[in-house]
């Protein structure tokens, strides 16, 4: 068997691991400074501003192309969501009716197991 200390593959892996640790630690130190925070947030703020402008531009473009506006698509999504919610409520009601009639079953219609489980006693394998 090859000695790990002289195994080139193991040495390479160890080196990569050490480099990762070293770089992460160095970067973390650098990122802990207020200067880093200032620079990062300055860049982030500029990107957010640009993104907002681009979004507004795209909205105008879509309107000029006679495509549905965001409000219209959102309105449709909301109607769909309300239908989904009503179906959910109906399923829930059916489930309650089933439970009221003594049938314990889930959404899939399968009967639910009884809620009688006790924890295994100390040392018992499950």
């Amino acid at each position: 068997m090859t000695d790990k200390t002289n195994d080139p593959v193991a040495m390479w892996q160890k080196m990569i691991g050490e480099m990762e640790k070293g770089f992460n630690s160095f970067a973390n130190q650098a990122m802990s400074s207020p200067e880093f925070s200032q620079a990062m947030n300055r860049a982030g703020g500029a990107a957010a501003g640009a993104q907002k402008q681009l979004g507004e531009l795209m909205e105008k473009y879509l309107v000029s192309m006679n495509l549905p506006s965001r409000e219209q698509v959102t309105g449709l999504a909301e109607r769909l969501q309300s239908i989904e919610a009503q179906i959910g409520e109906m399923k829930s009601m059916l489930s309650q009716i089933a439970a009221g009639s003594g049938i314990s079953q889930g959404f899939d219609g399968a009967p639910r197991p009884p809620r009688t489980k006790r924890p295994p006693s100390e040392g018992e394998q499950t």
Partner: protein, 360 residues
């Protein structure tokens, strides 16, 4: 063995042969990697009990002939998808719970839509979580509910529990949950109030994009992504390694955007003013003090958590008002604590032994 160098010359041809075979396998598997998708995740059978905007409530179909009386509601972190707790059969926390006889529900999140940018902390703590708890009660027919919160899902669970002191939460389990946000040093510096204009950000872009969330996580260990890709290439001949890499990589990069107003509150109340730790937190005008929580609580923390360092989580148990409280520190990182091969051996059995006796 050659004593001075430590090299076993007899094994060199064998080693070369093995490396050549791996090199060939890497080329074949490398092509395969790009032409196939990863394993199917989150496939434990479940029903969508309720869905409303960003909120989804699932009920997992029982896998045991007999279940504990008290159902379990898992509250997922708002930045990530819940399938980290349901990777693949044999490595699924959900499947583990089901097989151990728990009745499992999960509050999982979809990406908030642009018009949901106005969702506030109140919507999460005073509406989404209580609504799900109510639905779990209704669906299970039980009044008591145990809650498990992962990472920021733990923070939401704590806020919920501290405001709804009269129940129906019976037990609370938090995984890697921060309460002292000053101790999340890098996040704290990234959001330094002198330089980070959260109002401008939220007012200009609405929801915080997932790329921004992902890069702030990746910046905590900037070399790790490159190194993990090198490791993938080295191990691409190993199907198990590749499967595991793909599962975790897919999940880690599948970050969710955060609703703008919610993010504003997190930044101002938690990151800047550290209100949860200072006992000054309130949600919708209702005080949320940790000492108000009196139910049994287990807090599991990871020894090598780079996202929520132990310093940020360690005061939780001391500040909770419960008499029955326990912190357990296990080997692993922020994700490997709850998912993957090590979680199967460490966290899950610990949780089962703690929760089982409190679920009857």
């Amino acid at each position: 063995m050659n004593a001075p160098t430590g090299l076993d010359f007899a094994s060199i041809p064998e080693r070369i042969q093995s490396e050549v075979q791996r090199a060939i396998q890497r080329s074949i598997k490398g092509v395969e990697y790009f032409s196939t998708s990863g394993p199917s995740l989150g496939s434990t059978p479940k029903d969508v009990l309720h869905s409303r905007g960003t909120m989804n409530l699932y009920h997992y179909r029982p896998m045991s002939d007999e279940i504990y009386r008290v159902p379990v509601l898992i509250v997922m972190a708002t930045t990530n998808r819940g399938y980290i707790l349901d990777l693949v059969p044999g490595q699924s926390f959900i499947e583990f719970l089901l097989k151990r006889g728990y009745d499992v529900y999960m509050l999982d999140w979809s990406a908030p839509r642009p018009e949901e940018k106005s969702l506030r902390m109140e919507d999460y703590v005073l509406d989404f979580v209580p609504d799900c708890v109510r639905r779990v009660q209704q669906d299970s027919g039980e009044q008591d509910v145990s809650v498990i919160g992962y990472c920021f899902g733990g923070v939401l669970s704590l806020l919920y529990g501290s405001i709804h002191q009269d129940g129906p939460m019976k037990n609370l389990i938090c995984f890697t949950t921060p309460i002292d946000f000053r101790e999340m040093k890098l996040f704290s510096n990234f959001s330094d109030r002198r330089y980070f204009d959260v109002d401008r950000l939220v007012d200009s872009i609405g929801n915080v994009p997932p790329e921004m969330i992902l890069s702030s996580f990746e910046m905590l260990r900037p070399a790790s992504r490159t190194v993990s890709q090198i490791q993938l290439w080295e191990n691409i001949w190993n199907d198990e390694f590749v499967k595991s890499y793909r599962m975790f990589d897919r999940w880690a990069t599948d970050t969710l955007p955060l609703a703008g107003e919610y993010f504003r509150t997190i930044t101002k109340d938690l990151m800047w003013d550290n209100k949860l730790f200072n006992d000054t937190m309130s949600v919708g005008g209702r005080a949320a003090k940790l000492e108000n929580i009196k139910v049994p609580i287990l807090h599991a923390v990871a020894e090598h958590d780079h996202i929520v360092p132990y310093e940020a989580a360690k005061h939780l148990i001391a500040k909770i008002g419960s008499a029955d409280k326990e912190e357990v520190m296990l080997k692993g990182g922020h994700v490997s604590l709850v998912a993957g091969a090590n979680a199967v051996k460490r966290l899950w059995p610990k949780l089962d032994s703690w929760l089982g006796k409190r679920s009857t």
